[in-house]
Amino acid sequence: MLSYFANPSKFEAFARKGGPIAFGIFLICTLVATVGGLLLAPEDYQQGDSARILYIHAPTAWLSLSAYTFIAMMSLIAFIWRHPVADVTARAAAAPGAAFTALALLSGAIWGAPTWGAAWVWDARLTSMLLLFFIYIGYIAVWAAATDTARAARIARILALVGFINIPIVKFSVDWWNTLHQPASILRIGGPTIHPSMLWPLLVMMVGFTALLAWFVFVGARADLIAQRNQRAEASAPSRPLDNPTAIIDESPA
């Protein structure tokens, strides 16, 4: 499986087929979930209609963590086995990951303003999320700041791995510290604790956004692989000996 995808051309073919499928799932799911979340689901008895922000907030927050986990996993694979495809997929997930993080922060702030009375508080969940955003930016900046992509890949792997220590902190900050933010009510051991009529659009939205992340990875990685291949293909003339060729060349060049 791993070695199958490590072959760039096989991965490219797979991504070419997978892209439209992922995009289709994303469109259908988000459409259904938006209708469900904005029109069908009841308003929260405490928070009123503001709770509908949940359908953006939770999926983006969840995916911001998943995307980074994916990047870290791919970086580990690339670090150990040096699979060229792993780097490219990790890179492709970075910009969407950062976008999801920004959206989770933004939707949280928009939601916090009416419910907490403050758009921002310096508690562990929010702060660690902000740090996750900076880690994403740092990861993207390393890719952007290198003149040589192979070099960027090697450095980015290491950064991604070290940055991963922030992920459990984000995830469990609500349990470890006293935060204003509520603890997990859906992705928790023992099953979700919210009402099914509010739950189903959320789950559908999560599926849709996950499909979107997959699409980003397929398309971004494909673009990089194709570009790499193109650059390599630019032929360059073989070198030749100037004098006493026999002394220099033991096998005649192809």
């Binding site: 403050a118 758009a119 921002w120 508080v121 310096w122 508690d123 702060t127 902000l130 740090l131 900076f134 930016i137 900046a141 952007a144 700041a145």
Partner: protein
């Protein structure tokens, strides 16, 4: 000189291109600002009272340091690769060059900073009604900070002790606008006065430094060459 505006434009265009390229300075100056504010918020902790006390100081310091970092080696590369020598020999005055640098600094770091300063105030719990006023106060202080950091960079250029001298010279100069800038924001928060005496002083300092420092910076650039 008919050549001057063109020379200014060319300097601006070149520096703007260099700064906005991937890995260019603008992005990092901005990020430094954000990181500085974030780490300060973290260090201060979640209590709203402490945050509110610290907000003006942190916003001003973050602005000053972001500008300082973005401009620190502003002339250094031109000096080291000889570009500055040629420009000094070609032109009676390095003023267009200086102005081009200043404008590119404003465009690449000043404007982005102006966009994020309000966010920092919000994160530090400043009431929404005060945020734009506080940001405006910092904008009033920016001219002074800009010419100061450019002056420090110009002085440092070509001297062996580049970074050292720049900060030695920049720091005392920046102290005055910073102190009165912080006080002006405080008086806005505490007494609701925008045009407090401190604000006037900051504006006056901007004018004073704005008139005084550019000629000295230009002179420093030229004499640094000889």
């Amino acid at each position: 000189m008919s050549a001057s505006p063109r020379f200014l434009r060319a300097t601006f265009a070149r520096d703007f291109a260099i700064a906005t390229r991937s890995g260019g300075g603008w992005f990092y100056g901005l990020l430094f600002f954000a990181l500085f504010a974030t780490l300060s918020g973290l260090a201060i902790g979640p209590e709203r009272a402490s945050l509110a006390i610290a907000a003006p100081a942190i916003a001003w310091l973050a602005t000053a340091f972001a500008l300082q970092l973005a401009s620190a080696d502003c002339f250094e590369s031109d000096f080291r690769d000889g570009t500055l020598r040629v420009l000094a020999a070609e032109n009676e005055s390095l003023a267009p060059y200086y102005v081009g640098k200043l404008l590119s600094l404003i465009a690449t770091i000043g404007v982005p900073l102006i966009c994020v300063i309000p966010v920092v105030f919000l994160m530090f719990g400043t009431p929404a009604s005060d945020v734009s006023g506080a940001a405006a106060l910092i904008i009033i202080g920016m001219p002074a900070l800009l010419v100061i950091v450019l002056f420090a960079a110009a002085i440092a250029t070509g001297l062996r002790a580049a970074g050292l001298l720049a900060s030695l010279i920049g720091a005392p100069l920046a102290a005055a606008p910073l102190i009165f800038g912080v006080l002006s924001v405080k008086s806005l928060f505490e007494r609701g006065v925008f045009w407090s005496p401190e604000t006037m002083l900051v504006a006056a300092l901007g004018l004073f430094f704005g008139v005084l420092l550019p000629p000295f910076s230009i002179a420093a650039l030229r004499y640094g060459l000889e």
